[in-house]
Structure formats: C-alpha cells, structure tokens
C-alpha cells in the first residue's frame, strides 16, 4: 500500500475569497506579517498494489479529468510513501 497525494490549487490569477477571508483574520489572532493566503484541496489516495509508472499515469489522468478542473486549478501528484520514490508534478 502506498499513499499518493494530489494537491489542487486555484490558478494564481483566479481570485480566492476564502483565502482572503483567512488572511484578513490573521492580524486579529495576533499573526502579523502574512501578506497573502490561498486555500486549496489535498486528496490522499490509498493505492492498492505498487505505485509504478503506470499507476501514477492513471492517477495523473484522474487528477486532470476529475479531481481538478484545469480551467481554474493546477495540481501536483506525489507519492508520499511506498516502494517508488517517484514524484510526478504537472
């Protein structure tokens, strides 16, 4: 078993009001010096069997077609544990 992590973030040019709301709350909580916050999604996929190149390619397709909407979002795929230390970033 290995865990593959897909991180999905809004593209830099897309307005992120959720991140802005978090950022605006920071000074009130005593956290100064953080000028920008952007909020994204993290998917942790527990994969049965080996995470080989073929499995990573399938997960990349899954991320591109479903987990992320590439019109508005970028994503990265990385293996967190398991037998392949490969990292595939888009």
């Amino acid at each position: 078993m290995a865990r593959v992590v897909v991180d999905v973030m809004l593209k830099p040019e897309i307005l992120d009001p959720q991140g802005q709301a978090v950022q605006r709350a920071l000074p009130r909580l005593g956290f100064d010096g953080i000028s920008d916050v952007r909020q994204g999604k993290r998917f942790e996929l527990e994969v049965d069997g080996p995470v080989d190149e073929a499995a990573l390619a399938r997960i990349h397709d899954l991320a591109e077609s479903f987990l992320a909407n590439t019109v508005i979002e970028d994503f990265t795929v990385k293996v967190e544990s398991g037998d392949v230390a490969a990292e595939a970033a888009k």
Partner: protein, 226 residues
C-alpha cells in the same frame, strides 16, 4: 403537435419539478430523465436543472458530469441537441466542457437568493428566440457558486462572437467576470445561466412576473416549426 423536453434528475436536484411545470405551461411535454439513464428516451431537448447534484462535494457539477446520462447527452449536444443548463445545470455544462469557463464560489462567500435584473444579449439561441436582444428581464437568482470565470482569451472570444447570452444589470451579484450571467455555445443549441427562469413563469409566484417563460416557449417554437 408538441415537443418532448427531458428534465434530468440527479441525486440532489431541486428544481426538476418546477422545470417540468414550466415546460408544461409553455405547451410542451416534459419527460423525466434519471441520472442513471443510459439513453435520452428520444427527447427533442434537455434541461439540466438547479440543485446540488451529488452534494456538489468536489466542485459544483463535477460529479454529475460523469453520471451515465451525461454520456449520450454530451454526444448529442455536440451534434445539435438543444440543452439548457440552469444554475447547477450550467455548472455541469462547464464541467463537461460543453460550455467554456468555470463556476466558482460567489466572491462575497454568501448564498444569494434575490430577484435579479438581466439583459438578454443574444436572442438567437435555441432558448432565447422569444426575447429581443437588449431586453431586460427579472429572474430569481439563488446560488452559492455563481462566479463565472474564464481566461482572457476565452472571454474576448465569447464577447466577440456574441456568445454572452445574459448579463447582470445594475449590480454584479457574485463577481462574475464581465457581469456574465449566462453563455451559449458556438452553435446556439447549448445555453447555460445561473438565474432560474423556471421560477418566473407564473404571476402568482416568484417575481410576480413571467419573464422566464420565453425560455420554454422559444425552444418549443424552434422544435415544432423545425
């Protein structure tokens, strides 16, 4: 002679009954379609209605886009089948790439429920023939994820080709780029918008006006005279 217009019910759809009623009021025959249907039962057009399909847990419309009924729908829409997406239906159409761009959360992060003034910018689509270009109408708007976004190239192309079908007037309720409330595909058979015309078809309810009814009479006229 009338036309048969399918209305898809996904788990979490809310406005399927209202949409069927609007079609009936306009003189059409509504046909209930189920998200698991593998064919469209020979309908002449389809409406994807509002709601929160599959809970919208990933992104609005993202899971519905992969439901069985969408396979024949996407294929036939590309071949010219008239499809109207209202609210969640619009979100599903962008997720399915039948319409360009994407829908994101309202810029103020609040749910909206209000009467909204719109301008009909394109009265030549399959769903807008009974309006006149430039006509201003009042239609209820109720959503969480109504912010239309697209890259600059897509926006310029939509504007240049007259494919912004509806624009918010007086105020932009959700941060949509270019005040876009609805768009059409190149052929004019696939139209999506955030406001709900099916809630503005009888004087007794909603805005007290029937500004939404022409969506449904437009498509019937087009189908019956075609």
């Amino acid at each position: 002679m009338t036309a048969r217009i399918g209305v898809v019910t996904f788990p979490g759809s809310l406005d399927d009954r209202d949409t069927q009623r609007a079609i009936r009021l306009a003189g059409g025959e509504p046909v209930a379609l189920w998200h698991k249907d593998k064919d469209l039962h020979q309908v002449d057009a389809v409406v994807l209605c509002g709601g929160f399909s599959y809970g919208d847990y990933l992104r609005a419309g993202a899971i519905a886009r992969f439901s069985p009924v969408m396979e024949p729908l996407i294929e036939q829409a590309k071949a010219g089948l008239p499809v109207l997406g209202i609210c969640n239906g619009f979100q599903i159409l962008t997720e399915a790439h039948l319409l360009p761009g994407a829908m994101l959360g309202n810029d103020h992060l609040h749910f909206i429920c209000r009467d909204q003034k719109l301008r009909v910018e394109n009265a030549e689509t399959a769903w807008t023939g009974d309006y006149t270009a430039g006509q201003e109408i009042h239609i209820p708007l109720k959503n969480m994820d109504g912010r239309y976004v697209a890259d600059r190239y897509t926006l310029d192309k939509l504007e240049a080709e007259g494919r912004v079908a509806f624009r918010y007037v007086d105020l932009n309720p959700n941060g949509s780029l270019n005040d876009i409330a609805g768009i059409t595909n190149e052929a004019g058979n696939v139209v999506g918008l955030m406001p709900h015309p099916e809630h503005a078809v009888e004087p007794l309810i909603g805005t007290g006006r029937t500004d939404g009814l022409p969506f449904f009479t437009s498509i019937l006229k087009k189908l019956v005279t075609a």
